[in-house]
């Protein structure tokens, strides 16, 4: 089936490959492990020198992340004993919970904006890529180059015009505004990536579907789309990673209602001293959605579902 020959690697080669992969994984994972650990440290442990590798785990960072707190008099604290485990953690510091922090809200903003713009980028990107791949379009190459050229400067270079545009259109600090902005930035990547994937799907499949009694759109939907799943999944992951992590525009264009988690997390530092465990807890939770998304789609990242069905 495949055009290259594959021989089973020897035990020695497997060991070398395994060692390299594990070594690389250790280097890249170490900062993540450190962040994860810091999230469960107490405040003093988090800044201890030399750094502590073993420590008494504490959920203080997470409690600080999700709540706002107030200092209270010993008398008040004695009169109001803590009712829950998290109230107790706060109580032991001589404080009480004043209410929820804005982290949950910011996190949800990230989810809405990140997944919203990813969906839109991939949806529009797939349609555009299909058209570029299959139809005769005047100036096709120039249009494709133009689309790519939008990524040739750093997006932040156009921050000022976008800021002014958003202000006059009333898009500043709105979910819709951020979704549109991230979609615009991601679309060039998405069109180019998906065009590559769709180019590789032989036209014969659609032609067969047209002959079999389906319309062009049905052929696209029933035959092309399932085979482009691999490309769509990997494109979606790239788009989500960008819009999830984007910081500069989020700082510039959002403040109250639509602020995402990236600009919010650093502000935690300022709340009552340098609260590294809370920052680490925020960063840890912030990692989870992209990780889950990638793991869910990872089987699509393995190529090869269409190989062998069309005689080359």
């Amino acid at each position: 089936m495949s055009s290259f020959s594959v021989t089973e690697p020897s035990i020695q080669q497997k060991w070398i490959a395994g060692t390299l992969v594990i070594g690389y994984a250790l280097i890249t994972l170490l900062p993540l492990v450190w962040i994860l650990a810091t999230g469960f440290k107490s405040s003093p442990d988090s800044i201890a020198y030399p750094p502590k590798v073993t420590f008494q785990p504490s959920l203080e960072g997470y409690v600080n992340l999700f709540t706002t707190q107030m200092r209270q008099t010993p008398q008040y604290l004695a009169e109001h004993p803590p009712g829950t485990w998290y109230e107790e953690i706060v109580h032991n510091k001589g404080m009480v919970i004043a209410g929820p922090s804005r982290f949950g809200e910011r996190f949800m903003n990230s989810v809405i904006i990140g997944f919203g713009s990813t969906f839109l980028s991939v949806f529009l990107g797939t349609l555009a890529a299909y058209a570029f791949s299959r139809y005769r379009i005047p100036l096709k190459d120039d249009l494709l180059f133009f689309i790519l050229s939008t990524r040739m400067m750093p997006p932040i270079a156009v921050a000022i015009p976008i800021f002014l545009m958003f202000r006059s259109l009333g898009l500043s600090d709105t979910h819709l505004g951020m979704i549109l902005l991230y979609t615009a930035v991601n679309l060039s990547l998405s069109v180019w990536l998906l065009k590559g994937f769709i180019d590789e799907i032989p036209r014969e499949y659609e032609e067969a579907a047209l002959i079999d009694g389906y319309t062009r759109f049905q052929a696209f939907y029933k035959v092309v789309l399932p085979q482009a799943a691999t490309g769509i999944a990997s494109t979606a992951i790239f788009c989500l990673i960008f819009s999830w992590n984007e910081y500069a525009f989020a700082v510039l264009l959002t403040s109250g209602t639509a602020q995402t988690a990236p600009p919010f997390i650093p502000t935690i530092i300022g709340v009552g001293g340098q609260d590294w465990p809370a920052v680490a807890a925020g960063a840890t939770l912030f990692l989870v959605p992209v990780m889950v998304f990638t793991i869910l789609l990872r089987k699509h990242l393995l190529r090869g579902i269409t190989f062998g069905a069309v005689r080359k």
């Binding site: 032989p202 067969a208 009694g213 319309t215």
Partner: protein, 331 residues
């Protein structure tokens, strides 16, 4: 079932003329084989009739109706592609059911099941119905591909070298099967092939294409016995027709440049002496490779022949075909 007619159909791709003013009438129930080398326009003809491509000029009629502007679905044609193009994300069963479930047909579930089973049995793939389409051998894929056309009951079947990737035995079986289907259904078939046996055994009509032009259209016997040109004569016949200078033998009509000798046009025993170069015993017949005045000639002799290389054989033409300098038949 329906007849198909092409009127002055022309199609170009960029500067290449794929079809040049082709007019052809395919009667209802005919089994038409299109012959011609690669690039002659055979596949283009099928694609234009199917509606996958639109002609630059000319009209196509299916069942008497002009089909200009109609989609492939509206034309009600089934096509077997040269590349098998099974839907790789579906099982064999889903592949076969796909045309039946189309919005045009909307076949009820029980009938889909029955038709798929029937076709699978005819094509000997019933035991593979639940396999993924990618998990089949080349021959099986091609049979599924043919099956996807046969589950339907279209106006016309278009087949683009459907048997070319199969082994000899399967090819022979399917040839018989296609002929039977044609006879039973009274279906109209347009069939592209390079294979002479397929053309001679299955066709009711043969169309010969040369660089986009339809040079002759007729029954297989007409094409074989009465070709209009040397080009057509070369498309059918195995061993191929021997094209020799006309003055090699006496009796050529004036203006003849080439004499075309099929094996049965060569009488052995009298005439000019030629040298035997090689003998190929093929079982039911024997091929004789001769050289006459430096011109190689291939002919047949009876299986019991005891000729050997180095012997000489006297040969002379019998009912030969004569062609002029341009290759057109003159006698």
């Amino acid at each position: 079932m329906a007849d198909v007619a092409l009127h002055d159909v022309t199609k170009t791709y960029g500067s290449t003329v794929a079809l040049d003013n082709v007019t052809m009438a395919v009667p209802d129930g005919a089994f038409v084989v299109l012959l011609g080398p690669t690039g002659a326009g055979k596949t283009t003809t099928l694609r234009l009739i199917s509606g996958l491509e639109a002609p630059d000029a000319g009209e196509i009629y299916i069942d008497g109706r002009p089909v200009k502007g109609l989609t492939p679905a509206q034309r009600d044609v089934a096509m077997v592609f040269q590349q098998y193009s099974l839907y790789p994300h579906m099982t064999v069963r889903e592949n076969l059911a796909f045309p039946l479930k189309s919005p045009i047909l909307r076949t009820p579930g029980t009938e889909v099941k029955r038709k798929v089973q029937d076709v699978a049995e005819v094509l000997h793939i019933a035991h593979k119905l639940d396999n993924k389409a990618t998990n089949l051998s080349g021959g099986e894929m091609q049979r599924v591909s043919i099956g996807r056309a046969l589950v339907r009951d279209p106006a016309i079947y278009l087949m683009d070298e459907p048997l070319s990737s199969l082994d000899a035995k399967l090819r022979a079986d399917l040839r018989v099967e296609l002929k039977r289907i044609h006879a039973n259904l009274g279906a109209t078939l347009l069939y592209v092939t390079h294979d002479q046996v397929e053309a001679m055994t299955m066709a009711t009509h043969v169309g010969v294409l040369d660089e986009g032009r339809l040079v002759q259209f007729g029954t297989p016997r007409e094409i074989y016995e009465d070709p209009v040109s040397l080009y057509v004569a070369g498309r059918l016949g195995l061993p191929r027709i021997n094209a020799l200078p006309a003055d090699l033998f006496a009796g050529a009509p004036s203006g003849a440049r080439t004499i075309g000798l099929r094996p049965e046009h060569i009488a052995q025993g009298e005439g000019k002496r030629s040298d035997v170069i090689r003998i190929e015993h093929l079982g039911d017949h024997t091929r004789l490779h001769l050289v006459l005045d430096g011109h190689p000639i291939v002919t047949l002799t009876d299986p019991g022949s005891d000729l050997e290389p180095g012997d000489t054989v006297a040969i002379q033409p019998r009912n030969a075909l004569y062609f002029d300098a341009a290759g057109a038949r003159i006698a």
